[in-house]
Amino acid sequence: MSSKAVATLLGTLSIAWYSGMVMAAADPYQLNFQQPNSTIAQQTYDQHIMLLWICLAIFIGVFGVMLYSLINHRKSKGYKAANFHHSTTVEIIWTVIPFIILFAMAYPATKTVIAMKDTSNPDITVKVTGYQWQWGYDYLIGEGAGISFISRSSTTLDQRNNKAPKDEFYMLRADKPMVVPVGKRVRLLITSNDVIHAWWVPAFGVKQDAIPGFIRDAWFQADRVGTFVGQCTELCGKDHGFMPIVVEVMEPAQYTKWAAEQKAQSAKTVVDVNKVFTLDELKADGEKVYAGNCVACHQANGQGIPGTFVALDGSKIANGPKAEHINIVVNGGKAGSAMAAFKHLSDVDIAAVVTYERNAWSNTTGDVIQPSEINAFRK
């Protein structure tokens, strides 16, 4: 029996250490969930610890008996086998006890699930859209309504391919993080533009699939300020591993300042759709849009990836009628094609990127597509 006591003691100590352990973000030996930053995440964390305690108790009970038996009931020790093989009483006991344990597990979980699903009375509502392979944020209701931007991974291809050094934020930063005020209820309306993605920030206890054609909601309320990181968690194609979710939680005053800045900036960048651009202006802009949206599949050299993603350099569409080219960029490819729709880009961006594609590499159509054409096409 002493071995059992030692096992109990060791197990208790290790799990007590484990449950008390809340690790800093980048600990290479982090064994447990991240430090919670919302009520739901805290409840999840506590329930997980409770489950571990229950599992440990059962583990010690069952394997204590088995270990005793393995040590003592051996043929090599000359132990003679008993011949019992049935006991209804025992069967009933070990059917009923697990029921009771399961009830103890399910009760707090049920309360948390109901709380998770209650998305009423938000202070701020943000629409989150998954794209292959970036996230779009549209602030719909509440302070900051009207702000809208795309968030892409800050990790470069060179870092990924080991041609540039990796810093401590490798894979953990986005060019434009989502920003929310601390202590405010944020409702997320989550959807997708192409395939299924999932929006996950562990510290908030939120993971919700982004489903094309459907809107699902979730909510969180951050308890403290800081930068919180998650990742897409539903396989969404080749760059699934490279679409981080970064949320900056700010003091309310700072958030107000951020929102005002964003609005001022977007007011500056609003362009009259009837403005006429030159070929060079559009090409220069288009190259940036291409780098942000198209390069992952069609590649910087326009060659695509043979067999998977078509080349644009010398392609029939990029050198054929304009309307078809605009159509495939705005509405995506035929059913079954990997080409996503990019109707969420502005008229100027689409005009620029189509112009760029028709005049880059060996494509020399000389076509200039103006934003007004895109605007007309959309109608």
């Binding site: 969930f33 489950l51 051996r74 025992v90 059917t95 399961l102 080991n162 489903i211 459907f214």
Partner: protein, 537 residues
């Protein structure tokens, strides 16, 4: 177990009689023997070798995955190819390695254990097997077509799987063929068990391995057509303009997941119930004590099978179901812990006050109980929705299902192979090499998968070819474990080949605690066994 009495003399006389049979109906020689055979033992052997070769192919894919994840950054392959590897590793291990291996066991053991001369539909049995190689060929050759093999995960979720190239179509056809093979195999097993038991062997006297296979076969017949249906819908969405799973055309991508997991969850039990059966044969033999709670084991198996059909949406807790649906699936899932717990308790009670010895099959059986229970614990953790939402699609889930599939199903298969090899080959296997295989597998398995729990909890998603620097150390440990685990299986191959080619002659009943009918046959079991059925009292 029921007391067994053979109608005529055991051993010597028996072997003589069958020796005579061999002369009359011996197998043809060479390739034609294997192509045309209707013998359950030949077909069982082919199933087992097929499964082992698929295990090697799927294992090489795992090597590729773990090699890429050895360090952060992309070193060896493109992300697309990485996705193809994870997708096909899963598919090949589930449909190519684990399931055919259990069918191989059923072919060899069910007729011998119930006292039947062969399977009920001997020609269909041949056809069920020979469907497998073309399906495997489709899966593997998809790597060489334009666009590469399917890379949308073994779960085929649309719309991603609608985006893929022709590799996905090959995957769909392979699944159709494998499904057809499984359904035929199951019908065969059900018919054999229900109609061809020896006189006196009532259902409640059947060995537990036979019981678990009977229940598994019913599950297969129930769910394989559902899988075939859903991948057919996927095929028509891809090529024939339907919109089952396309919201823009009035469909719903989540409907695919519901239908897929209605197949997928029972599938999990299809891969574990026969493993329970094997363990329930090995433990009493080496404890020299009857199985504790035989009837409650049968009822527990049936309860698990029934419950497995109403828990599928616990794979989908993050899709955003209504709260009542979520709670229903959580409670139903937790209920499965009850019959599963009963099994573990019964096994423990079987060992209690036995007279145990620890040959390789027993080691694998104990390893199974120990590690499968850990997988069961993480299963209960995953059933609790708030926690599941955190660990869904992370390495925690990877760790969980490898604990139940590798140290569960696969360890049971290893145990079963060592247990019955003397009967199959007529030779004893090399006990020290067998033990070496067990200990290497046990250590490297845990090195590979235990740390993945931590990776998942800390936030590493599955199906990613690269990760933040924080996860580097545990990934390296896991990769080292995986390489070790893979290489350890060469020891297994050595033991099996050595045992087939020679070794100490096996007695009819090499394990003194064994009680089931196959041990009344000589070793190796004659080509045609139980031509005259035994009588069970």
């Amino acid at each position: 177990m029921a007391a067994v009495h053979d109608d005529h003399a055991h051993g010597h006389g028996h072997g003589h009689e069958h020796g005579h049979d061999d002369h009359a109906h011996g197998p043809p020689k060479g390739m034609m023997r294997w192509l045309t055979t209707t013998n359950h033992k030949d077909i069982g052997t082919m199933y087992l070798w097929f499964s082992f070769s698929m295990f090697i192919v799927g294992g090489l894919m795992a090597f590729g995955i773990r090699a890429e994840l050895f360090q952060p950054g992309m070193q060896l392959m493109t992300p697309e190819f990485f996705n193809s590897l994870t997708t096909n590793h899963g598919l090949i291990m589930v449909f190519g390695a684990i399931m055919p291996a259990f069918v191989g066991f059923a072919n060899w053991q069910v007729p011998m254990m119930i006292g039947a001369p062969d399977m009920a539909f001997a020609r269909m049995n041949n056809w069920s097997f020979w469907l497998l190689p073309p399906a495997a060929l489709l899966l593997v050759s998809a790597f060489f077509v334009p666009g590469g093999a399917g890379a949308g995960g073994w779960t085929f979720y649309p719309p991603l799987s609608v985006q893929m190239g022709m590799g996905m179509d090959m995957m769909i056809f392979a699944v159709h063929i494998l499904g057809a093979s499984s359904i035929m195999g199951s019908i065969n097993i059900i018919t054999t068990i229900l109609n061809m038991r020896a006189p006196g062997m009532t259902l409640m006297k059947m060995p537990l391995f036979v019981w678990t296979w009977l229940i598994t076969a019913y599950l297969l017949v129930l769910v394989m057509p559902v899988l075939a249906g859903t991948v057919t819908m996927l095929l028509t969405d891809r090529h024939f303009g339907t919109n089952f799973f396309n919201a823009a055309g009035g469909g719903d991508p989540i409907m695919f997941q519901h239908i897929f997991w209605f197949f997928g969850h029972p599938e999990v039990y299809i891969m574990i119930l026969p493993a329970f059966g094997i363990i329930s044969e090995i433990l009493p033999t080496f404890s020299r004590k009857p199985l504790f709670g035989y009837s409650s084991m049968v009822y527990a198996t049936a309860s698990i099978a029934i419950l497995s059909c109403i828990v599928w949406a616990h794979h989908m807790f993050t899709v955003g179901m209504p709260v009542t649906a979520q709670l229903f699936f959580m409670y139903a899932t937790m209920l499965i812990a009850v019959p599963t717990g009963v099994k573990v308790f019964n096994w423990t009670a079987t060992m209690w006050q036995g007279s145990m010895s620890f040959e390789t099959p027993m080691l694998f059986a104990i390893g199974f109980i120990f590690l499968f229970t850990i997988g069961g614990f993480s299963g209960v953790v995953c059933a609790v929705i708030p926690v599941d939402i955190q660990v869904q699609e992370t390495y925690y889930v990877i760790a969980h299902f490898h604990y139940v599939l590798v140290s569960g199903s696969l360890f049971a298969l290893f145990g079963g192979v060592y247990y019955w090899l003397p009967k199959w080959t007529g030779h004893m296997y090399d006990e020290s090499l067998g033990k070496l295989h067990f200990w290497l597998s046990m250590v490297f398995f845990n090195v590979t998968f235990f740390v993945q729990h931590f990776l998942g909890l800390a936030g590493m998603p599955r199906r990613v070819p690269d990760y933040a620097l924080q996860f580097a150390d545990f990934n390296m440990i896991s990769s080292i474990g995986a390489f070790g685990f893979g290489l350890s299986q060469l020891v297994f191959l050595t033991v099996v080949v050595k045992c087939i080619r020679g070794g100490k002659k096996a007695e009819a009943k090499p394990w003194d605690g064994a009680t089931t009918l196959e041990w009344d046959l000589p070793s190796p079991a004659p080509y045609h066994s139980w031509v005259t059925p035994p009588v069970v009292k």
